[in-house]
Subunit: 659 residues, 2 copies
Amino acid sequence: MSSAVHSTEEYDMDIRSLSSSHRHPQDAPYVHKVGLPPKQNLFKEFKATVKETFFADDPLRSFKDQPRSKKFILGLQAIFPILEWGRSYSFAKFRGDLIAGLTIASLCIPQDIGYAKLANLDPQYGLYSSFVPPLIYAFMGSSRDIAIGPVAVVSLLLGTLLQSEIADPVANAAEYRRLAFTATFFAGITQVTLGFLRLGFLIDFLSHAAIVGFMGGAAITIALQQLKGFLGIKKFTKKTDIVSVMHSVFASAHHGWNWQTIVMGVSLLSFLLFAKYIGKKNKKLFWVPAIGPLISVILSTFFVFITRVDKDGVEIVKHIEKGINPSSVNQIYFSGDNLLKGVRIGIVAAMIALTEAIAIGRTFAAMKDYQLDGNKEMVALGTMNIVGSMTSCYVATGSFSRSAVNFMSGCQTAVSNIVMSIVVFLTLQFITPLFKYTPNAVLSAIIISAVIGLVDFDAAYLIWKIDKFDFVACMGAFFGVVFASVEIGLLIAVSISFFKLLLQVTRPRTAILGNLPRTAVYRNILQYPEATKVPGVLIVRVDSAIYFSNSNYIKERILRWLIDEEELVNKSGQPKIQFLIVEMSPVTDIDTSGIHALEELYRSLQKREIQLILANPGPVVIDKLHASDFAQLIGEDKIFLTVANAVAACSPKLMVEQV
Amino acid sequence: MSSAVHSTEEYDMDIRSLSSSHRHPQDAPYVHKVGLPPKQNLFKEFKATVKETFFADDPLRSFKDQPRSKKFILGLQAIFPILEWGRSYSFAKFRGDLIAGLTIASLCIPQDIGYAKLANLDPQYGLYSSFVPPLIYAFMGSSRDIAIGPVAVVSLLLGTLLQSEIADPVANAAEYRRLAFTATFFAGITQVTLGFLRLGFLIDFLSHAAIVGFMGGAAITIALQQLKGFLGIKKFTKKTDIVSVMHSVFASAHHGWNWQTIVMGVSLLSFLLFAKYIGKKNKKLFWVPAIGPLISVILSTFFVFITRVDKDGVEIVKHIEKGINPSSVNQIYFSGDNLLKGVRIGIVAAMIALTEAIAIGRTFAAMKDYQLDGNKEMVALGTMNIVGSMTSCYVATGSFSRSAVNFMSGCQTAVSNIVMSIVVFLTLQFITPLFKYTPNAVLSAIIISAVIGLVDFDAAYLIWKIDKFDFVACMGAFFGVVFASVEIGLLIAVSISFFKLLLQVTRPRTAILGNLPRTAVYRNILQYPEATKVPGVLIVRVDSAIYFSNSNYIKERILRWLIDEEELVNKSGQPKIQFLIVEMSPVTDIDTSGIHALEELYRSLQKREIQLILANPGPVVIDKLHASDFAQLIGEDKIFLTVANAVAACSPKLMVEQV
């Protein structure tokens, strides 16, 4: 009986052995039916979807079955995690936090002054933003390793966006500053709202590749901006693209460069890069690059103070406002045109700031294996920016470089942020006058050495190796930032990311399956060249949910597989195709358009006298096949648990026709 | 040896029987390796992706290996399919086309006059649009059944959009008309461009559910607009939402309604609906509803001519310009503000027109089992609209109601459109003066009876049964159109459709698998309650490609499954979980973010002393696992062909620990 098939293929024997090896060989193979999941009520189904979408992490889990007083305490602890971990805080932990806090403070003070310049703000605003926000975060945040404060990329982005609204940040300094606080306020509101509405997953739509490219491009742009301070150029372009900047640099080559500044800048940068190199070579010496900036600031300030080279044209900081953050509540625009501008800029800055902070938080949480609730984190970051906007701070977030130093210095909890905050407070109160003679060149050198780490060649190479499309997104974002502007780069990154997702849902993969010799397993014949097709049967796997966006494509793709296969079969004189098995394991869902496409496929196959057979539809799919009566249309007996079962059911009929 | 496991589960025996039933039972099971597909070169890979995205239907297939002269002929035939099917055209076919063409002509003439009103244009523009575009389509289109001309929904959409730019279409009739031609021109350009760039799949992003809702809502809105002509109201609102319209209707109830008009309208509508009912009851009498409109126009016109009730306030058509389409080339705006408006309106109208035409084309192509190239179809539709815009036509497309009549009257080819076009030509040349006394009420009745079929309760109910989310999209579009405007409804439909797609790629499904008794098959335990878990092993299936948009969610979801399972295991005193098997069959692709997520998962598992095992990664995934060195990280021997193999590899180790 089985000779016809057996001669060409071994599969028949194996299928039977699958389920009936210990029974009489003549028995019909034991065939499991496709399970129809228990009917769910509509409300439950809806609730489950909402829960999985917005509360995937089940944030109220610990609240279950607790007395009311306990719930209140848990609620407080949820908002202020310090109440939870603070109870087990110890002196040993404090020692770690103290050292880490002092280290990041020494790093952040010179950086802050430089970053404020990127945002076109006076230097003290950078320091302000390293005082209030870290304090707030320490009480509300749940990451133990993140170091809060102004960061290079967000400062640059804010500066660019604000400047596109207010042309001259120097002439209109007051208005510019007010718009900056407005943007910061709405950045905070955006972050709190996203967290509160549990829309945190929105930041996942910026792909890793796009971020790598964007960060690298931003780093190059920031470094290029530093050429102004580094070469001592007076007239510098306001644009950030590489063409404008290089033009500006070379146009001023003859009369605009200041050789004293260049010598100072180059030697300081060499010192900082050497310190970085030492830290990289020997992990134990991580503190060398960490305190390098502070040392170079002290040395160069002292040098300028002694030699008074500022009289020869070396630009210096000159003046930093003394004292802590003044209130800025009534500086925020709550009406008029500037309100809208502030909202728009705030939303963009909020998303980039969140992306950076959450990426840092997740990285270190994974390293130390603790859980981080992205949505709660957003509420903390947002609150700190709202309070910041009222106390003369601009958008703060987690800094890559300082968080890494914080981690390596042995921080234990967010107390290291408090320590840093106190040091910044003391600086603001007592030490700012000492920065008078600090040359701008040292700030430029510090910023260049800080952002250089954001250009991540290894990551880009890995992306190239793994996914070419991702690499295009990465490069698109990179060149967009470098040759156009941070906004354009960001837009390119987001567009390419979305395009990739849409491509996935529009053009899903399909594969022809074959039987692996000596098994009942059917696999993609391109991946397993040893897999053999079953004569008279075409087995196609669809690798995606069948939705309106791809249903038509899938239908036509399957028909095209069939036409190709029929051509092949005709040429080689093999038996005609009589069965089309669609392996539906990867088809997780189907919608009305998908059902229509299946119906059209069924009708086309009927005209060709080919039977449509489905293998292993999932719970949602089988439910909908029944609801739409498609299962009855093709016949319930045409739906099988596995491809092997389906093939087994086809083969006797095939043989009859071949005899 | 196997007693520990055997006592609780039967799977062990079955796995062995899978592959070694005819060999000695002590043999190690035959384990297939996971296939690594042959390395593809970068260019080939890229070419394959582009081909699958834009040339999925392989349009150049027939050009392969042909001499140059043959290629030229094939190329001409590709642009003008009439050259291909025209060669086998016969008298028998012409008989079918003639009858069908005359039938749809009798239907389209009164419809055209009414639809032109929906677009706020004079009646002759409706007739113009049924003369030139069908002719062009007949030469370039590949659908045999579609009937081309102005349609209700596009007319309404165009009227609404144009009116939002030019407030008073009567006072500024010339400017309004010019903008209409401009929009038509750019609608054509949009359609040709989409087809030429092979971006036809973009229209697939309007889901079936959204279209059903949108069409239903548009039909209600159109019917409501007809209350003006139906009740003889003089002052009527310009808004289209139901609230404004009903307010307008009842505000004029006392003095604005004309009873003669109402009597005439009601009797004509009853006649038309009765004709429709007859056609539905008996498929052979399909011609009754098809010629109903023409008969009612003739009867009512004659009646008005005899009784002169127009003097009592019954509104009549009064005047239709005689003669065929004048040129409108120099009326199109190619500069200034109106150019931009025209482009914007044209793009929206083009998309809706395409959606309708392609849906019709596909439906009938599936019924008669011929292939339709969506992209080529778009070029044909676009060309006909470009030519139309230069010959005083507004946007034409395929009409649902007339195409169905065309099909049922036995049309064979696009020649039926030529026949219709000739009849419209004769009408324009000779008969238009006869329409002078045609009452507007009959046009309103014809439009109401035509659009009523667009409210598809059955389809809506089916959508409700199959997919609740689709139903929300459907209702959103419906109520958006009815209560706000066609634009808002369209926006809602598109937004909900996109949201659904994004949800799919953000929150993919995952499932816990169990072993089906007496098989080596592992399935979702929610779908198959009889499936049993393997003690000490957690098997999770991920039902989607792992991309940046979901990688973090998937990682955390798997860890949460693990925590839940460990709680269960602890309570029931079962053996501790030592292996986590991730079934990757449905994971069709993975990107850099996905690899990172897997690495983080691996590290978290290491801390818990649980081994990570992968089952059946697809060709793309296994390739990337190797490229990123993740395969080496977890160990190549931790990747199995099937879940059954993976479980078999775990179980001996499990038993050792349990002894």
